[in-house]
């Protein structure tokens, strides 16, 4: 349907996902599969300051997300609690004190208007951001890898159908359609819906690369040997080919996460994502738009958290793909 001309020339394309553009890793040439194991990759990554800083921040935010109830118990405020004493009704609900009311009582200040604790909302918002992005990545990866493998290995009619569906989904105005679907659907269980909707439009970008690599791997001797030994198609695909795609999949998944974090935050920002009062970083930033001139701390806190998380995943993915490319002798 719409195989873009870049496919013909075999040059790299940018995965123009959902607003965010991320460069597809140059791993399209599978031929020189994995020789160095995961250990080598980890050794190389450990020497990279940027990758380690990113990983550190990701671990930190993951811990924060997991430990959210503990952390809010320590800080003393839950994310839904209104604190009228922290805002000034004479100033239209502005937080009392500098930096949006930051201090010993409210560590990261309070929301103007309601007085809800920003630290508590950030901590619980981390659950939403990480939870949705990681679930969406997991689902996309499962879909993308299995469909890519099947299309690449079995070819023929299966490949035709899968490829057509991929072309269609990639030519689809994904963001606006996600918005349309989410706005039409009832508001119950938005998180699961977000994961499904993001994944439905996300898997072709991985599947396309997996398909290409599978096609070239299927010509290799070890696959032929397995086939000669009487292994079934399923066994060849999952036992012989899949292990060789490991590095590609890890790199693609890491590079997909920041896009999904941004998509979730963007959809929540537009009011079709996570439903209030459940906190999400994107939604917090949306709420801060009205206050940006008088209470900048209100957008700076969630904005910085979000930016750093996306940056961490982007840098980690970038370094990971560089390391893997180097190992594969490109």
């Amino acid at each position: 349907m719409t195989s873009s001309p870049t496919d013909l020339t075999g040059t790299k394309t940018v995965a123009a996902g959902t607003g965010d553009t991320a460069e597809a890793p140059a791993a399209t040439q599978a031929a020189g599969a994995l020789r160095a194991g995961a250990g080598g990759t980890w050794q190389a990554l450990r020497r990279d300051t940027g990758a380690m800083l990113g990983l550190g921040y990701i671990v930190l935010i993951s811990l924060v997300a997991v430990l959210a109830p503990v952390l809010t118990a320590i800080s003393g405020w839950n994310p839904y609690e209104f604190d009228q004493s922290a805002i000034d009704p004479n100033l239209g609900g502005m937080p009392i004190g500098p930096w949006g009311g930051m201090g010993a009582e409210h560590w990261l200040g309070v929301e103007p208007g309601s007085g809800r604790d920003i630290f508590a909302r950030i901590v619980y918002g981390a659950r939403v951001s990480m939870g949705i992005a990681l679930s969406a990545t997991a689902l996309t990866t499962v879909l993308g890898v299995s469909l890519g493998l099947v299309a690449g290995y079995f070819g023929g009619r299966v490949d035709l159908v899968v490829s057509r569906v991929m072309d269609f989904l990639m030519a689809f105005p994904a963001l606006i359609f996600m918005i349309a679907v989410l706005s039409a659907l009832p508001a119950s269980n938005r998180s699961a819906l977000l994961v499904v909707v993001i994944s439905v439009f996300g898997w072709p970008y991985l599947a396309r690369i997996v398909r290409g690599q599978t096609m070239s791997l299927a010509q290799r001797e070890f696959v032929e040997a397995a086939r000669a030994a009487g292994a079934s198609g399923t066994r060849i695909v999952f036992r012989e080919i899949l292990p060789n795609l490991r590095s590609t999949i890890i790199v693609m998944a890491t590079l997909a996460v920041p896009g999904y974090i941004g998509t979730e935050a963007g959809l929540s920002f537009l009011g079709v994502g996570v439903v209030p009062p459940a906190p999400s970083w994107g939604q917090m930033i949306a709420a801060s738009v009205k206050w940006y001139a008088v209470d900048p701390a209100y957008f700076v806190v969630p904005g910085t958290c979000l930016f750093l998380l996306v940056l961490s995943f982007t840098v980690l993915g970038d370094r990971l793909s560089a390391v893997v490319d180097a190992q594969e002798g490109r």
């Binding site: 870049t6 030519a171 918005i179």
Partner: protein, 331 residues
């Protein structure tokens, strides 16, 4: 060439029809009854039935879908008698909330969205190409690493965060830019420019970063090609090798991506327009979500789909003109 174009157009039409069907299914099957919404307060079951009848909502799915598609080409009339509403030829639906045909609403706001898209595109193409070329020429120097860091940052910053930061710093703090006011270009060019500078920058940053990376990677790839080595071996000066042999193949992929990105943006930059309060197609869509004005959301979805499909076709045609390798394949 004409046959190639014909296949592209027909496959584009299929995609569009599917987009149409997809969107229609979603709104038909999943959304709350629009008749109830239109009816509003003081509603009676008879009134709802009457509205349903007027809108054709009592018809089976395929009839409704056919009426909708036919309306795009021939226009349609909602209801009858005194309450009839005319929706002229490219009828993408009718917003009963704002008593306007969706197409008219889009046409009113399209110039604003186009202004944002064009301005941003100029910025990101310039920044991306220059940045990518410089980065490739100075591979593995400080400049290259600096650019790489900058592009990773640019790719990572969500545009609404950047928008708020810019607004706070440039408008509130430094007062370099005026507070946005709706003005015509002819009346007050300075204010007009001030309104659009920030949206341009905000939209351009992410794309500029991606284009820089793409350009750099492509140029480096091409420079490793045998024919470039041959060109050097012939004794051609560097400038000539770059101009004649390296740049064209390196930059063709940029054309593909650009066509798709730009077409996508024309259909409205929802977030950027919303943050800056600019009355384009994107803000209209975002506002319609809040009001649950489904015909508008659906109309904008279709428009976006149409633009992406057209963008794809244009790119393919341009591609055959600039890349001889494709020209052979496409015949």
């Amino acid at each position: 060439m004409p046959r190639f174009l014909l296949t592209r157009i027909s496959s584009g039409l299929v995609v569009l029809l599917l987009v149409c069907l997809f969107t229609f299914v979603v709104f038909f099957a999943l959304s709350p009854d629009p008749a109830v919404q239109i009816c509003g307060k003081n509603c009676t079951p008879e009134l709802i039935d009457q509205i349903r009848g007027n809108l054709g909502l009592d018809q089976p799915f395929w009839t409704q879908f056919f009426l909708f598609v036919a309306g795009i080409f021939a226009g349609r009339t909602y209801g009858d008698g005194a309450a009839a509403v005319e929706c002229a030829a490219p009828c993408l639906g009718y917003s009963f909330q704002s008593s306007q045909a969706v197409w008219d609403m889009i046409v009113q706001r399209l110039p604003v969205s186009a202004t944002i898209a064009v301005g941003a595109a100029v910025l990101w193409l310039l920044a991306g190409l220059v940045g990518g070329l410089l980065s490739a020429v100075k591979e593995d120097t400080f400049l290259d690493r600096f650019t790489t860091g900058l592009t990773l940052t640019g790719m990572s910053i969500p545009n609404y965060v950047l928008a708020l930061v810019l607004q706070y710093v440039l408008v509130v703090r430094l007062q370099w830019l005026p507070f946005p006011q709706a003005v015509r270009f002819a009346d007050d060019p300075v204010q007009w420019f001030g309104n659009f500078v920030m949206p341009w920058i905000v939209l351009a940053v992410g794309y500029a970063a991606a284009y820089t990376r793409l350009t750099r990677a492509n140029v480096l790839d091409v420079l490793r090609e045998n024919y470039v080595r041959t060109a050097y071996a012939k004794g051609l000066p560097q400038a000539l090798v770059w101009r004649r042999h390296a740049l064209r193949p390196a930059l063709t992929p940029v054309v593909t991506i650009f066509g798709m990105d730009f077409a996508g943006l024309l259909g409205g930059a929802l977030i950027t327009e919303t943050v800056f309060g600019i009355n384009g197609v994107g803000k209209m869509a975002a506002d319609s979500i809040a009001r649950n004005d489904q015909p508008v959301i659906m109309g904008v979805t279709l428009l976006a789909g149409f633009l992406v499909v057209v963008g794809n076709i244009v790119v393919d045609v341009v591609y055959t003109a600039i890349d001889p390798r494709v020209r052979v394949n496409a015949r």
